[in-house]
Amino acid sequence: MAIRERMSGNEAVAHAIKQINPDVMAAFPITPSTEIPQMVSTFIANGDIDTEFIPVESEHSSMSATMGACAAGARAITATSSCGLAYMWEVLYVAASDRLPIVMAVVNRALTGPININCDHSDSMGARDAGWIQIYAENNQEAYDNYIQAFRIAEHPDVKLPFMACQDGFITSHAVENISLIETEKVKEFVGSYEPENFLLNADMPMAVGPYANSPFYMETKMNQRIAMKNAKKVILEVAEEFEKISGRKYGLFEEYRMDDAEYVIVIMGSAAGTTKEAVDELREQGIKAGMIKVRVFRPFPGAELAAALENAKGIAIMDRAESFSGCGGPLGSELKAALYDAKNESTTVNYFYGLAGRDYTVETACGIYQDLIDYVSGKQEAEQFKYIGLRK
């Protein structure tokens, strides 16, 4: 029987950690993820779990310590946001190339410049090429569910990659909402114990982790990471299928909402997806064929699958909650447009930038975007390639 509860997104992740009882957590506090290590510390102090908590002096150290613990053979986790994630940068790449299945809760927050504590995806999007799996949550329920699935995906022998379980800072991390929890025994059984094949503390099989790789070896390491990332796609779906059996909740690489005959589609990630669904329902009542796709898995990027799902769309709004200053689109915009090009999809696509640093995205915002798409497709307005939405006048 599912457990009916109410909690914030941060509480949901902390609760999942309590249920999983990982071996090691090394963390340094940063808003809005601070509550996660704070709550886990309380669980440890109360004797609820026996995770070894390593308080460190920075995020560079928290990622290094997590990596060390994971290399030694432990199930190791951390949590961070924004500048904290940026400060881990160097070590993120090392964790990925060393194939360490670390699970990190990322509570998305804008990177500084100007300083701000609210949500956007600039932190994790900046780390999108580090070789980590990235999955994004719409609400506290998904933050909890994704976190539980993360270990099975990251630790799978065909994958062995570090994992960022992302949720929107404050919007979901600090909002109390209803949630359906899974019994601890079922979570434990689902996640299983971590039995690494190779690890530093295995005296019977000494090994080196992270040695120098000169030119004849470096590229093969990258190719292997690439293969692992490709395998992750299949494993993510397998794990989702098994997760559905214990939770009744269905997950894929992305979620399609009223897409069957949709002509005007918003492609979006994170908490704004729920708000968009509300707009889709409103427009459907007026007879407008609106639909939505929520990208759940950003790494590995499901380009071909998304292009197939968008085959019949006439107008597509690709929503980026991070600026990349490429001049050719944001992170989601560039990658999805490339996938649409490969699929020879010639529908009208516009790349929107929205919600930076917590700028609000409302049902009205979404309805306005659908109206844009209708006008672009009908030729009433010339389609812009990029558009900032919700700017002050």
């Binding site: 404050f170 909002a175 209803n178 609000d360």
Partner: protein, 190 residues
Amino acid sequence: MKKNIEIRWHGRGGQGAKTAALLLADVAFNTGMHVQGFPEYGPERMGAPITAYNRIGESEIRVHSNIYHPDYVVVVDETLLHSVDVTNGLKEDGAIVINTPRPKEEILPLLNGYKGSVYTIDAHKVSMETLGKYFPNSPMLAAIVKVADIMDKDVFLSQMQASYEHKFAKKPEVIDGNMRALKMAFEEVK
């Protein structure tokens, strides 16, 4: 209660408006509803204006934005009436509840012509008489539960008793005073 309601709280940092919104989410959850309770975050300081929100309904709540067209507004600090447009977007078939000792006639001119229902309560008086200190959030919580008819008074009080016992496990001496504040506020809001 109407089917799905949205509430906006206006207070000042330190007055407990956020806590009140989270407590309201708690009690509504405990009576079987779908809830959302969240504050608007920024560089908050003691005394600075803050906003918090509630969505309460019978079905899953999917919207994750602030609330611009609330059914109800709660003003925890009446000095905000001079600096914040508290009735902005407030539905005319809704209501506003204001913490003030002043008669309604003096408050109405400060509401930008709002035509819906206006309720007042002297949360300072309630708080001083029941708690001996000024904590306006418990009285304001009871006031909005009554005005928006979110639940039956007895159900509310028994849920709050349990909630306070949990929240104040280490300060049980404040539970009785808070319960008295809730009961008194139920009678005082007009």
